[in-house]
Subunit: 216 residues, 2 copies
C-alpha cells in the first residue's frame, strides 16, 4: 500500500461499504481496498487484527489522514468536510436536513434490521419474510417522502448522501426479492443513479473481492 | 401552541426522543411537546394524522422553521447548523468524525436492534436475551473506542452529540438489565452527564407524558 493513500476495509456485498465507495468515487479520491470477507473463515471481521481497527467488527472502515473511521455516514460526512468537491450535501440547511433524514431513514431505520445477524436470530424460515417486511415498511415511508423532495435524485437535482444510501438499499431489497417496482419514485431514482459512472465502478459485481461467478 | 414555537413529537421513554430533548435543552430552544404514546391505542404513531408528519411512524419528529424533520441525528445536525451555540460538534474535522462515529454506532448499531418491533419478532422468551446481547456487543466496542477518545465526556471535555446518544442508550441498557458497571468508561461518562441540568430536565421520568407511577 502506497504511503498516505486511504485504505478502505470493504466487502463487495456490504451495502454500507458500497455507500462509501460511491462517495470516494464521486470525489475522485484514490484509495486501496482491503477486502474483509464477512462469510469466509467464520467472518474475517472477527479477527483480532480487524477488531483493533473497528471494535464493532463491521465494514466499512476507512483509514485516512492518520485516522480510522467506521460507520459509513460518519465517513461520508468526514470526506465532505475535508474534500468538499463535488458536494454531497446541499448548501441550504433545510435541504441538508432532508438529505440527512433520508440517509438516516435507510442507515438506522432499514439496513440494520435486515442485517444478517438479525435474520439469523429471527430464524431461517421467517428471516426472509422479516427482511421483506422491514424493507417494505421503510420503502413505503421513503416513497412518500421522496414524492415531495425528489427532483432527478432523492433531494432535488444534485446527487447527495441520500442517493448513496438509496442505491445499495435497493440492491438489498432485490436480493431479498422485494417488489421494488411497487415504489415508482424509488425505482426511477435508482435507475437514473445506476447509469452514473460512480455507481457503476463501485457496484458489488465489480469489486476486487467479487467472486468470479458474481462478476459482471 | 404559540405561533413559530418548535413542536417536538416525543414519547417519554423513547431514547431517540430523549437525544433531541437534550439538544433542545442545551441550546436553550423553547419548544412545545406533543406526546405520541407508542403503546396506547395500539400505538398513536400509527394514526393517519401522525403518519402525515412522519411516514416512518416513529418519534421523534420536530416541526421547526416551517420544516418537519424526523430521524434524531438529522434533527440534531439541523439544530447545530441553525443554532450553533453551544456547539454539539467539535470544530476539528477529525474530532467531528469521532463524534459522528460514536453517535452512529449507537443510532445504527445498537438502538434499532433492540427496538420493540425487533424484540417482538425474536419472541417473548428470547427477546430480552437478544436485547442484552445486542447492547453488550455494542457496549464492548463503545468502551474500547471511548478509552481512547474520552476526556470528561465521550470525545474530550466538551459535551457533544455522542453524549446525547450515550445517556439514553445506557438507560435502555438498564431497562433490559444489562450490567452497565462492566463498562467503566461508559458508566463514568454516563454518571457525569446525568449530573448536568440539560440531561436532568429531559429525563424520561420528568416529561409531560410520564405516567404518575414513573415520575421522579
Amino acid at each position: 500500500v502506497q504511503q498516505g493513500k486511504p485504505i478502505l476495509y470493504s466487502y463487495f456485498q456490504s451495502s454500507c461499504s458500497w455507500r462509501v465507495r460511491i462517495a470516494l468515487a464521486l470525489k475522485g479520491i484514490d484509495y486501496e481496498t482491503v477486502p474483509v470477507n464477512l462469510v469466509k473463515d467464520g467472518g474475517q471481521q472477527f479477527s483480532e487484527e480487524f477488531q483493533a481497527l473497528n471494535p464493532m467488527k463491521q465494514v466499512p472502515a476507512l483509514k485516512i489522514d492518520g485516522l480510522t473511521i467506521s460507520q459509513s455516514l460518519a465517513i461520508i460526512e468526514y470526506l465532505e468536510e475535508t474534500r468538499p468537491t463535488p458536494r454531497l450535501l446541499p448548501q441550504n440547511p433545510k435541504q441538508r436536513a432532508t438529505v440527512r433524514m433520508i440517509s438516516d431513514l435507510v442507515a438506522s431505520g432499514i439496513q440494520p434490521l435486515q442485517n444478517l445477524s438479525v435474520l439469523k436470530q429471527v430464524g431461517q424460515e421467517s428471516g426472509l419474510a422479516w427482511a421483506q417486511k422491514v424493507i417494505n415498511t421503510g420503502f413505503n415511508a421513503l416513497e412518500k417522502i421522496l414524492q415531495s423532495t425528489a427532483g432527478k435524485y432523492c433531494v432535488g437535482d444534485e446527487v447527495s448522501m441520500a442517493d448513496l444510501c438509496l442505491v445499495p438499499q435497493v440492491a438489498n431489497a432485490e436480493r431479498y426479492k422485494v417488489e421494488v417496482t411497487l415504489y415508482p419514485t424509488i425505482s426511477r431514482i435508482n435507475k437514473t443513479l445506476l447509469a452514473l459512472e460512480a455507481f457503476q465502478v463501485t457496484h458489488p459485481c465489480r469489486q476486487p473481492d467479487t467472486p468470479p461467478e458474481m462478476r459482471a
